[in-house]
């Protein structure tokens, strides 16, 4: 059984890889992401390498092996199913569940996760629109052509499908303005120079900085 710590390292590698579009992750990136000293990461990477969960090249970085990737996806699956489960059963808001699931994801059995999956009707995505890896350890779907809101032309009509940033404050702001997964919006302005984008959602117009808009993935809706 992989320890809680190992699970967290694997998950961090997986998510950094996804966020940066590159298999290999540096020691420093991991140290920052896990809030741990660089030396600690180095020693853990050797451990992961020895147990066949990651490939580690000194001074180059680390990359998950098949086994490591599968394990990381299992953790992610637990995390996302737990998030959705808490939202559905206890009506928690989506900004509350991330931290909660972070703790619980290491202490629920496969049996329980299977029951939750069944209860929820085998969902494909969690409350943030993040895809839920399948039980056999594969990251599925994601076939939809989602693009960052920041790249959308004025006058395009879009549906929000995913929010990358999980910070509670940010999520609460999105809730207040109605920019939740599933909602549709009409882009009214996208100004490179001003570094902001405005969209009409419901009857209100919302403006976001580009940095924030990059965190929202949308798909265009035929008008």
């Amino acid at each position: 059984m992989a320890s809680l710590t190992v699970e967290n390292y694997l998950k961090a590698i997986l998510q950094l890889a996804a966020a940066t579009n590159s298999e290999w992750i540096s020691t420093g990136q991991l140290a920052t992401s896990l809030s741990v000293a660089p030396g600690t990461v180095t020693s853990m990477l050797k451990t992961l390498s020895e147990s066949g969960l990651a490939a580690y090249k000194p001074y180059e970085g680390v990359c998950l092996t098949k086994a490591g990737r599968t394990l990381a996806l299992r953790v992610l699956r637990r995390h996302r199913l737990l998030e959705l489960f808490l939202v559905k059963t206890l009506s928690l808001t989506w900004d509350q569940v991330h931290a909660e699931a972070e703790n619980m994801e290491h202490s629920v059995s496969d049996m329980l996760i299977e029951r939750i999956d069944e209860y929820l009707g085998r969902p494909e995505t969690d409350p943030h629109g993040d895809p839920i890896p399948s039980a056999d350890g594969l990251m599925r779907g994601n076939a939809t052509a989602a693009v960052p809101l920041s790249t959308c032309q004025a006058l395009s009509k879009v549906r929000i499908v995913r929010v990358l940033n999980q910070q509670p404050d940010f999520l609460r702001y999105l809730s207040e303005t109605g920019l939740e997964p599933g909602a549709t919006a009409l882009v009214e302005l996208n100004s490179m120079e001003g570094g902001l984008i405005s969209a009409k959602v419901g009857r209100k117009t919302v403006s976001l900085g580009h940095q924030a808009a990059e965190q929202l993935l949308v798909e265009t809706v035929p008008q």
Copy 2:
């Protein structure tokens, strides 16, 4: 924050104290109950003592302080609310939830427990009939005069209110025979010599050894 290990030691002390009706618990009892070497217990007891969670007298044993008792009850509260929550939402059977809650009880926030408590309608007992400590760290109720089934006279009518043993196999056997909390039974025979007790539950008659019957707490029902 108390570590997972500290929480488990405190909980074990509390439960051994309840099971043996004595404040003071010996090193050996704890070692057995936690499946750990006696020496390990000794060193942990010193730690607990230093952090003011338990009073430790060498060669005598250990006893929870007020603070330790409160913390232990909080863990127990989390455990029992989780059990009930899993039974209610996912229709798990009561023999499945104990092990699951054992793992989860250390990784759920107070906020989540409060929401679960609310969702369940502030229940007083878990699926085994064990009382749920209140949010302010008190073991409540238990005022009902529950006695072991093994002490009941023939012809008395009883309602099962609590099952002390949490072993899945035992619980599954109880389910099969209908001896679950809430069920009523008519004692037909209680033989000291034979060491067994028979009761009619539903339309079937069930026989139990005295040792098993001690694990079932019942209250007598006016006929």
